[in-house]
Amino acid sequence: MKKLLLILIASLSVLVAQESSANEDGIAWDKAPNNTNDLVSLQNGAKLFVNHCLNCHSAAYMRYNRLKDIGLTEQQIKDNLLFTTDKVGDTMKSNIDPKQAKVWFGANPPDLTVIARSRSGHKGSGADYIYTYLRTYYRDPTKATGWNNLAYPNVAMPNVLWELQGSRQPMFAKEEAHGHEAEVFKGWEQVTPGKMSTEQYDQAIGDLVSYLQWMAEPAQNTRVQVGVWVVLFLLCFTFIAWRLNAAYWKDIR
């Protein structure tokens, strides 16, 4: 039996080693900071989200008053984050008309409630993807919006955060790889400065991505906290069950 299991494990490891890297569009993803436990970061992210994203994107499953979970009071939410017509129990709906959006951008801006969960892949988590995506915009006059993106080539969305980031140009170098020349991404050249330095911008995007990650599953921190207690209980329970079993079975010869 043990032999069978060993063979099984050995064969699995061979499979994992062989896992092919299916070639998806876009560059490799950077690792996003995980601040889903950091309330200041989440609040900053929420502010960025409401001010910059919510104009075109909805978060139609997320209620404003759920923001109480990241340390905001109902009054703070009403004063700073709500559109005037909304109620605090409403979900985050954008004001854009989907039909017009389709005309303007060629695509409907997707709902962002669970976007961080849906974009995961073999290159990293959904948060990694968004973190990379929002930091790799560059000017491209051949595109209708004037913008293009390294993580999502030919994306329909323009760089709405350009005022913060400024505009940048990617630098490529030709490199010999696998017998043919390939363009390899070699970093950025700042063309016009934004309101933020690169470090500040990266941090702001880190906050925004943490917020998106939290919003995709607001129960996630509760989940882990409850989980610790459940597992501790079950460890004790397993110990008792083990001793009980031994006590009953000691008579069986």
Binding site: I7, Y61, P110, R117, A219, V224, G227, V231, A246, K250
Partner: protein, 466 residues
Amino acid sequence: MAEFKEVSPDAGNGEKLLNWVDNRFPLSKLYKEHLSEYYAPKNFNFFYFFGALSILVLVIQIVTGIFLVMHYKPDASLAFASVEYIMRDVPWGWLIRYMHSTGASAFFIVVYLHMFRGLIYGSYRKPRELVWIFGCAIFLCLMAEAFMGYLLPWGQMSYWGAQVIVNLFAAVPFIGPDLALLIRGDYVVGDATLNRFFSFHVIAVPLVLLGLVVAHIIALHEVGSNNPDGVEIKATKGADGHPLDGIPFHPYYTIHDILGVSVFLLVFTSIIFFAPEVGGYFLEYNNFIPADPLKTPLHIAPVWYFTPYYSMLRATTDVMINVLSIISALSAAYVVFKTSVQNKFKLVTAVGAAVLIVLLNIFDAKFWGVVVMGGAVIMLFFLPWLDHSPVKSIRYRPNWHKWLYAVFVVFFVILGYLGIQPPSEIGTLIAQVGTIYYFGFFLLMPVWTQLGEFKVVPDRVTFVPH
């Protein structure tokens, strides 16, 4: 009918109540037959936890399912939002939903291990054929249940997974397109499909499933449990008429199973609370995007528990059809020229093979893929009559038999892995070899299970006191 029993007037109230019930319903009798005086072999090992665990998971699925239905909306325009509503606004809804989604995968893990146990210890052999057949029917129901349940969250994978699988039925010759239409209730997967799958998932299939589980257990308790040695414990009874190697299910195995349950729950809750998506295997990432009939995902893969069979489906290409034709021809030639069976049987074999080869090449490979996928599951039903080994348990079989089983398991896992991956040339080739091995393993059982040096099966079970 049993005689009306009286208890002494000074008996306790509990005893009086039990007597009252026993005179009207066989409560004590059932308790004795199925628990306190159901004698199970004392040498059960690790693999014998998974029967009890599958009942536990079944109960978890039913109970969490009841609560999910209270908040879920089976409507194409509301379904996705209602699942997110459960995840966010329903108190502890996320826990219920994760229990149900993790439970689906857990069900297949415990059932696959439960079936593997039956396979290696010969638990399907006489007199347990019906136990095995009921079990196979449960497995089929479980697949239907999981497939239809997966549509309900109405995400991209729900939608396109259902679309792909239902389209398979369209490959059936003559009736295919009508059959697919009947299943979908529409020309594409849509609201009608969601509603009927919901109905099947929450009532029709679970009803059948529960009935089969009861039949499975009644049949098992009629013949008694097998054990890792494959020894019939009823053959050696003590003075009291009970098997010498048997112990009452309660308290010994109830206590034992509580230990198994607590270890299982440790793993189960760790997944629920710390990694409910399990890297996209239990909850696929794409399924957090609402279903969009206009946007086909690049890569559509079923959930992991279907992928061994899905691999077999994909492995059935035109090349595979040629290989299968050649295998049929060679097998028929072998029977006709190299064996000494009756001429009538030789004729039947030759004609049968010829017809099969013609059919293989007339119908689309896609249809044969469906046949292969379905056949891989249906074949399990015939296992009791395929295995001709003189001993039940793998313990007393020749060593090379163990290798055949090991390779079988390895191929099953590889097929499962390949089914998750996008198709590739080398992957398809490996899957084809795996598929042929899977079928060869079962179909050639009447031959290979009889070959080799078998060890002597002891009269009594081997047992090491704990």
